[in-house]
Amino acid sequence: MLLATSLKMALLQISEPGLSTAPHEHRLAIGIDLGTTNSLVATVRNGISVVLNDANGRALLPSVVRYLPDGSVQAGEAAQMAQSEDPTNTIVSVKRFMGRGLNDIGDISSIPYRFVDAQGMVQLRTVTGVKSPVEVSAEILKVLRARAEEALGGGLVGAVITVPAYFDDAQRQATKDAARLAGLNVLRLLNEPTAAAIAYGLDNAAEGIYAVYDLGGGTFDISILKLSKGVFEVLATNGNSALGGDDFDHRIYCWLLEKNNLSALEPSDTRLLLMRARAAKEELTEHDQTRVTAILRSGDAIDNVLMQQDFHEMSQNLVERTLQPVRRALRDAKLTVADIKGVVMVGGATRMPQVQRAVAEFFNQTPLTNLDPDKVVALGAAIQANVLAGNRSAEDWLLLDVIPLSLGIETMGGLVEKIIPRNSTIPTARAQDFTTFKDGQTALSVHVVQGERELVSDCRSLAKFELRGIPPMVAGAARIRITFQVDADGLLSVSARELSKGVEAHITVKPSYGLSDAEISRMLQDSTQHAQGDMQARTLREQQVEANQLLEAVQSALEQDGATLLDEAGRTRIRTGMDGLRAMLQTSDHLAIKRAITQLNEVTMAFAQARMDKSVSRALGGRKLTDLET
């Protein structure tokens, strides 16, 4: 008995998954909150998550990008200062356009940009050419990346980028593309309220059911999470990806227009008044009234006093509109207000007293505001990045997130057949079988959509593709299996297979709005900082980093489990693969390195499965362990 017990202990110790037995250096990883109004970068230093400031000690980088006639680009403060002077080339709140078509954006009368309606995502015409929101966002990310590299003094393993929980697949894919374009390795896309919950939960050792109310500059999210013993489990999420602090500014802006009998303003005046409106909104957080003054291009002066009470009234229905998703999230989680132990407030817009009051009234409790609503998301993202980079901290925790919107395909009559329901825990996969409706039909078109409505036209179209090569059969005889896979980033891939005659036509689609690898590399080459030579050097460097990480991971896996899970031949195969990769690393041929990486990954597949099998057995403890002992 004693012997068996000690053996069990030994087994537990050697098979901790992912924990390298050899001590390795701290891997540099960052968390980025890519916000509508401001963006931030944070990292974990000496076990504590900290926001990284710029050279002037400022944490917040205004999410503003300006394109100048000489081809240069400004991002941040400098661009923000220029927004009223150069409104058409200075892009603010670009996050609202990510993964969006022109008709999704709605009222563009107060937006000074020259829009180009492109397939999939809207584009913006600037003095240096047409830019996609992905490229604009990448400029913001590049600044944050440079800030982090300078502060940390080294190359980054990767970044966790946060997105609104209610972002659909198009918006997520666009965010990931922007990060790639900025030269960042994306460790994970993390939902903003979940990031906040990590930062709050770990800090306060919170247990129980919490709501995270996240009202940012342009997006609103509500997430309901269960926190217990180091597990962060999202039960339901809801929101509105086109509702935020900007809309409160807009109410004040409209009030100014009305008060002063203004219409059809010049773009620079629009920008000016929107800036004044935002300043007034911020004033009214602390004061009962505020004075708004401005001189328009025409020379006309504006001078109005806005009372807090009036502002609250004009924005009341915006506040109301955040409560609808809250009710839905609670219903989806099968909970009531009484079940909620605490409400965490996130996003600068939650500073507004009318928002805090409405939330307090709804939940029947004072919301938690003891953390900086601007920083908490970046701090949580950094904690997650640190874990994903392989710097395991002592406390072990697990994050279980969900997909915010249902995924489905178009069926007869323009109706949606839901395949993966909203609030399914990710990663998830679901397969559904379909058939042909005509005799001899050899092709089937598949239209993938996202949303809750019954009609395809009311949902977001994600991708269309055709499955060809179906063997001709009578109607209804073919069996076509369509599989949806959503990964841990909440990103979808779809594949279709014809099963009935064993013929396999297989296609994996990337949603149509996403950028192909070729487009990404074209954009990289277009940008002035990356000449052709730089590009190749960068690709080579990336392959070398990946190869070294892989070698380290396989080596540590072999040390842990090579003796018990592999036979001599298996070990030799893997060692040969490692030697092959090491040999290729001596060359500077990035394609050869890539091939050797793929080869090594293939020969370690069975070993990886066996290791997982062992971990799984261990997770259930007791009985299964005795199998291992014998």
Binding site: P17, G18, R27, V157, L187, R188, V231, Q324, R327, R328, R331, Q384, V387, L388, A389, G390, D396, L398, L399, L400, S424, T425, I426, P427, T428, A429, R430, E452, Q485, D487, A488, Q549, L550, A553, V554, A557, I597, L600, N601, E602, T604, M605, F607, A608, Q609, R611, M612, D613, K614, S615, V616, S617, R618, A619, L620, G621, R623, K624, D627, L628
Partner: protein, 178 residues
């Protein structure tokens, strides 16, 4: 070697007996223990082979958990393990009396929706939950105690009908909210 191969049934995956009545807390804790081992977050810095295996496992564990925690899915799954299909597509085999009840339910939901009467909807929801609970008890006895799979299938079929009503009530709340 371990018996935990990837394709085994969902109950075995969590090392639980294949019964309808199950220990929810034990299922929860086993689910968490499993995800702690297999979740992609634990493998993101490792080789692609390990990341791929992790994604497959985490997906499978989620599917299993979602199936076993949902009373209707669990019923259908358990029946499928015994070779019974609940034929949910065809309602012609349902007793007429049951179908009439269904129509009455629908009318009541419709009426409350048109009147934007959330109080009435909540009452309907509560009554429906009660009825579903009763059916689940019946199903559990049929399948766990009596092993009467044919009768259990009919009771599961009814459960599926009631689940659709629950979905209708949920979407009625959404409609009123707009």
């Amino acid at each position: 070697m371990s018996t935990h191969d990837f394709q085994q049934d969902f109950f075995k995956l969590f090392d639980l007996p294949a019964t309808y009545r199950l220990d929810g807390e034990l299922l929860d804790s086993r689910y968490r223990a499993l995800q702690t081992q297999v979740h992609p977050d634990k493998f993101s810095h490792l080789s692609e082979a390990e990341r791929r295996v992790s994604m497959q496992w985490a997906t499978r564990v989620n599917e299993a958990y979602q199936t076993l925690t949902d009373p209707v899915k669990r019923a259908r799954y358990l029946l499928s393990l015994h070779g019974e299909d609940i034929h949910e597509e065809s309602n012609t085999i349902m007793p007429a009396e049951f179908l009439i009840e269904q129509m009455e339910w629908r009318e009541a939901i419709q009426e409350a929706t048109t009147a934007c009467d959330t109080v009435a909807l909540s009452k309907l929801e509560l009554r429906l939950q009660h009825e579903m609970h009763h059916l689940q008890e019946q199903f559990a006895t049929l399948i766990d105690t009596e092993q009467n799979y044919k009768a259990a299938a009919e009771s599961a079929r009814k459960l599926k009908f009631l689940e659709r009503l629950a979905e209708e009530i949920a979407s009625a709340f959404d409609v009123i909210d707009n």
